[in-house]
């Protein structure tokens, strides 16, 4: 497959000698307009890659903060179709920042895989993370997505041992998302030493960039991960800012403020290392 925005972004970051700040935000939370304002503001706030959550009623692998965000978004009438519209609106002002759609399979299955892939690409989505589609179900969406020129980003976890790792990596592209803890999103922070061991182990078997997420909340935590991995993912902490906002404007500013702080942490690290 040809190079995607994700591939280009990681190549550029590597040249700059720094790790990617990957942000996660729920589409349509707290509503379409405010959500679009957040997404539009994220690159300026330091996000190198944006993951957009596709709301789902039963997000089994997510913690309470992201589940609540999804329910807020659904209550506001968000759908897969309007999530794609959100991305195409964003693309009108930003053609460089990679966008990854992250969610569960059923809304995509209900939409129809072929029309979804066509529409996702037209909207400007670069990659997919579908939590409940492991390698065993590659024929459902992963293989068609790769054929359509989208990255399919797979999760590896502490339970993914050396025997299983090749299966997970087989059809992965873009980057590998290492889930730093066995648990749901927003749970306890990972131990940096454990993450380092795992990332180094995985590096021996793949050239894909490795981004680490689950449990990262602060600039300091993210900076530690940035020393070890090619990217740090922050989701729950940003999503919680939406809920704390007193109104739409406040929610947008809170998310972007926190993003700025965390990006300083991540982007600071490697520059210091180079000095």
């Amino acid at each position: 497959m040809s190079e995607t925005r994700i591939d280009r972004r990681f190549t550029a970051l590597k040249a700059e000698g720094r790790a990617a700040f990957v942000t996660y935000i729920m589409a349509g939370d707290p509503n379409f307009e405010a959500s679009l304002a957040i997404v539009k503001g994220l690159p300026e706030a330091g996000a190198d890659i944006i993951e957009i959550g596709l709301p789902f009623t039963d997000p089994m692998a997510d913690g309470p903060a992201i589940q609540q965000a999804g329910l807020r978004s659904l209550a506001g009438g968000m759908t897969l179709k309007s999530t794609l519209r959100l991305v195409s609106e964003f693309r009108k002002t930003d053609d460089a920042t990679p966008v990854v759609l992250m969610g569960y399979y059923n809304p995509i299955y209900a939409y129809g895989v072929e029309s979804f892939l066509t529409d996702a690409q037209a909207a400007g989505i670069d990659g997919l993370i579908v939590v409940d589609l492991p390698s065993e179900e590659d024929e459902e969406l992963c293989l068609p997505a790769l054929k359509a020129g989208l990255n399919f980003i797979r999760l590896a976890t502490p339970t993914t041992d050396d025997k299983r790792l090749p299966t997970v990596l087989a059809n992965s592209s873009g980057f590998l998302y290492y889930v730093s803890i066995a648990g749901t999103t927003g749970a306890a922070a990972p131990k940096a030493s454990d993450v380092a061991l795992a990332v180094n182990r995985i590096r021996k078997t793949t050239d894909l960039p490795i981004a680490v997420g689950f449990g990262l909340r602060t600039g300091e935590q993210a900076a530690e991960i940035a020393k070890i991995a090619d990217g740090a993912v922050v989701g729950t902490a940003l999503v919680e800012q939406v809920a704390l906002g007193s109104d739409d404007q406040d929610a947008v500013e809170r998310v972007l403020d926190l993003a700025r702080k965390i990006s300083k942490g991540i982007h600071g690290v490697k520059k210091n290392e180079q000095d």
């Binding site: 692998a61 329910l71 399979y105 059923n106 939590v131 492991p134 590896a156 993914t160 066995a182 648990g183």
Partner: protein, 403 residues
């Protein structure tokens, strides 16, 4: 699957029944599920495992359960001869323990130290807490707050048995949400925890292994009917939420093409309303809780909350093998409303001196449409999946009686 000459051969090696089934779970769980599959396949070849299980089923659960000729129900409907398969007489009061006993032995075999489960009506929770107590394993049961409220006696029983009952306040606060929370717990505690799923749903190999542990119901029914009537039954009838009691009764008879097999879904306030739990008649295929199956969902693939007066049937999905049997037409799926089930519940109490579970009452409710028109030598077996002591508060409430 379409080329098989038997309805009993499923699932295929990838865990599918036609397009249904599969393994739709987060990567964290995949290594565990594969490990479970291997452990289960090995246990099938182990004679000691089979002996231990059948010994426990006989001496602890109280099997075999009687196949009872319900003379007064038969007389009442004036048609077919009605037999009740008395799963209500099992220890803990329902068929659920058959499966729990099998799974706890698997958990021990795999060296697990902690058991989790989800429960709707509380029957599966009680059965799980019971086997966990029997083998001295720690146990946490996830239960929606709505169900905790309407199934208080079972909640207390679980606590007496030493289990922790974890209230689930997310979503509709019923079985679907309890299942989400149990999956979250499992993802977090993969190292030492075994998840005992209570029905023929979830990621492969669960639909298959739960079915296999429940087929003791149908196998006994075959033997008992041959002994009592000298031939096999003509019609089988069972209620369906996830569908484990139904699958347990149906599966050993699927290849007997002459036998009519009927599953009864919960129609709640009516299949035409938005308050029912009939996934097959009111839903379409989708992916939830680790498998593809018929689901109650909106056009955008969001899951719709189910409704049934019976907490055990109140689930927006159904086991994938039922979805397949529906599509290939081997089993006929019908439904009964809350009020039809309530009437059948009372009728069974009055005529047979048996208080049936509200779940089972859905199967009994279909007798009214089925039995009167059939000849007197037509043999119907209704699976009386559980007893209704746990439901007396719900029933009293529905009848306007204050206890």
């Amino acid at each position: 699957m379409s080329q098989l000459n038997t309805y009993r051969a499923g699932p295929d090696e990838t865990g599918h029944f036609g397009i249904f089934g599969g393994q739709f779970v987060a990567e964290t769980l995949m290594p565990l599920i594969l490990e479970l599959d291997t452990a289960y396949e090995e246990s099938k070849k182990d004679k000691e495992f089979a002996q231990q299980l059948s010994g426990l089923l006989k001496h602890y659960v109280g099997r075999e359960s009687p196949l009872y000729l319900a003379e007064r129900l038969t007389e009442h409907y004036g048609g077919a001869k009605i037999y009740l398969k008395r799963e209500d007489l099992n220890h803990t009061g329902a068929h659920k323990i058959n499966n729990c006993m099998g799974q706890i032995l698997l958990a021990l075999r795999m060296g697990k130290k902690r058991i989790i489960a989800e429960t709707g009506a509380g029957q599966h929770g009680v059965a799980t807490a019971t086997v966990a107590a029997r083998f001295g394993l720690k146990c946490s049961i996830y239960m929606g707050e709505t169900d905790i409220e309407r199934q208080k006696p079972n909640v207390f029983r679980m606590k007496l048995l030493g289990a922790e009952v974890v209230p689930v306040s997310s979503g509709s606060r019923t079985l679907k949400d309890a299942m989400n929370e149990a999956l979250r717990d499992w993802v977090t505690n993969v190292d030492d925890t075994f998840y005992i799923i209570g029905t023929v749903a979830g990621p492969h190999p669960y639909p298959q292994l739960v079915r296999d542990f429940q087929t003791v119901i149908g196998e006994e029914t075959r033997r008992q009917m041959l002994a009592q009537e000298g031939r096999l039954p003509d019609t089988l009838l069972a209620c369906i939420g996830g569908g484990s009691n139904a699958m347990g009764l149906f599966h050993p008879f699927l290849d007997d093409e002459g036998i009519k097999i009927i599953g009864v879904e919960a129609a709640g306030h009516g299949i035409e309303t938005d308050k029912h739990a009939a996934s097959l008649k009111g839903g379409r295929p989708g992916v939830l809780h680790g498998n593809r199956t018929y689901l109650l969902q909106d056009d955008d693939g969001q899951i719709i909350e189910a409704h049934s007066i019976s907490a055990g049937l109140d689930y927006p999905g159904i086991g994938p093998e039922h979805s397949w049997l529906n599509d290939v037409g081997r089993v006929e799926y019908v439904n009964a409303t809350d009020s039809e089930a309530l009437e059948a519940f009372q009728l069974c109490c009055k005529l047979e001196g048996i208080i049936p579970a509200l779940e089972s009452a859905h199967a009994l409710a279909y007798l009214e449409k089925l039995a009167p028109g059939l000849p007197k030598d037509h043999l119907i077996v209704v699976n009386l999946s559980g007893r209704g002591d746990k439901d007396i508060f719900t029933v009293a409430d529905a009848l306007g009686v204050e206890l």
